[in-house]
């Protein structure tokens, strides 16, 4: 039974010397929690689709990673999130882009796949779709973190568009 799960929390210029032991431990704990959420599904015979959704939801809820709570800011100071899922067996896919109110965008992506004939819904209409489907919404301040706000200030000052990990980790 080669059930296997892999996760990522983003790639970039992640420098050991910039990461305190405490902060590294926080990241490792969150990654371990995400693997455990997926493992709970796979070890009970659940589907790969359920496993990836559960693992990503844990990381969306963790403010350390750039998705859901803790997402990065646009130049306009807003937060716009994107997500996608794909089921290899059924060859079905769902995605949302430019959403601002959905607590777990990965759940909305799956709802697009399972409850509409479409693949991708964008913007406020995608937020409204998630609300109509009973998915949990959150106020803008839920997604906001000081760490990402400081990263935006640094990027604005440097006139850069940057990966979430390409700005000094110690921000504010």
């Amino acid at each position: 039974m080669n059930a296997t799960l892999l996760i990522h929390g983003g790639a970039g210029t992640i420098r050991r010397e910039e990461m305190s032991e405490a902060r590294e431990a926080e990241h490792r704990a969150a990654l371990t929690e995400a693997l455990a959420a997926g493992e709970a599904v796979l070890s009970s015979g659940g589907s790969a689709l359920d496993a990836v959704e559960q693992a990503v939801r844990v990381l969306e809820d963790c403010p350390l990673f750039n998705a859901g709570r803790g997402a990065t800011f646009t130049a306009a100071g807003s937060i716009e999130m994107d997500a996608a899922v794909m089921d290899g067996m059924a060859r079905m896919a769902g995605a949302v882009a430019g959403v601002q109110r959905i607590r777990n965008p990965v759940r909305a992506a799956r709802a697009v796949m399972e409850r509409t004939p479409h693949v991708l819904l964008i913007g406020p209409a995608a937020d409204d779709f998630a609300a109509a489907e009973g998915l949990e919404l959150a106020a803008p301040e839920y997604f906001r973190t000081e760490h990402r706000w400081q990263q935006l200030q640094a990027a604005l000052a440097a006139r850069r568009i940057a990966l979430d990990h390409d700005l000094p980790a110690r921000m504010g």
Partner: protein, 133 residues
């Protein structure tokens, strides 16, 4: 950006990716994550989730290209993952990483940056977490 790929006990494959995009991005900008075939892909051969400079992953259809390298080029999953991360994505003007799992449950992990937050779980074995190269 965060993502997951899985192969379950029945041999099914799935992928998921979620992101806030890049810091200081223009409002309205969409990267690769929600674009099927660019940042997220799953078929009967492999499941893929990407992270990095999204525009480069879009330009080379990175996630789908990984599957094509396996299906048409006969590359094993790790070699296909490395080809995309270390050759195709940089050739398209960007950098980043990918995670993948094939139909046998074999993992593929590659990134062209100094680090990638990543985890690997083979059911029945201890979980593996890594950050740096």
């Amino acid at each position: 950006t965060v993502g997951a790929v899985a192969r379950d006990a029945a041999g099914r494959l799935a992928a998921a990716t979620s992101t806030g995009g890049m810091t200081n991005k223009r409002a309205g900008r969409v990267g690769d994550s929600p674009l099927i075939g660019a940042g997220t892909w799953a078929d009967g051969t492999v499941a893929v989730s990407c992270t990095g400079i999204g525009e480069a992953f879009i330009r080379c259809a990175a996630a789908h290209e990984l599957s094509a390298l396996m299906r048409h080029g006969g590359l094993p999953v790790q070699q296909a993952t490395a080809e995309v991360a270390e050759v195709l994505v940089p050739a398209s003007g960007g950098s980043g990483g990918l995670i993948a799992v094939d139909a046998e449950g074999r993992p593929g992990i590659a990134f062209g940056t100094s680090g990638m937050y990543r985890g690997l779980l083979r059911l029945g074995a201890p979980p593996e977490i890594a950050i740096y190269r």
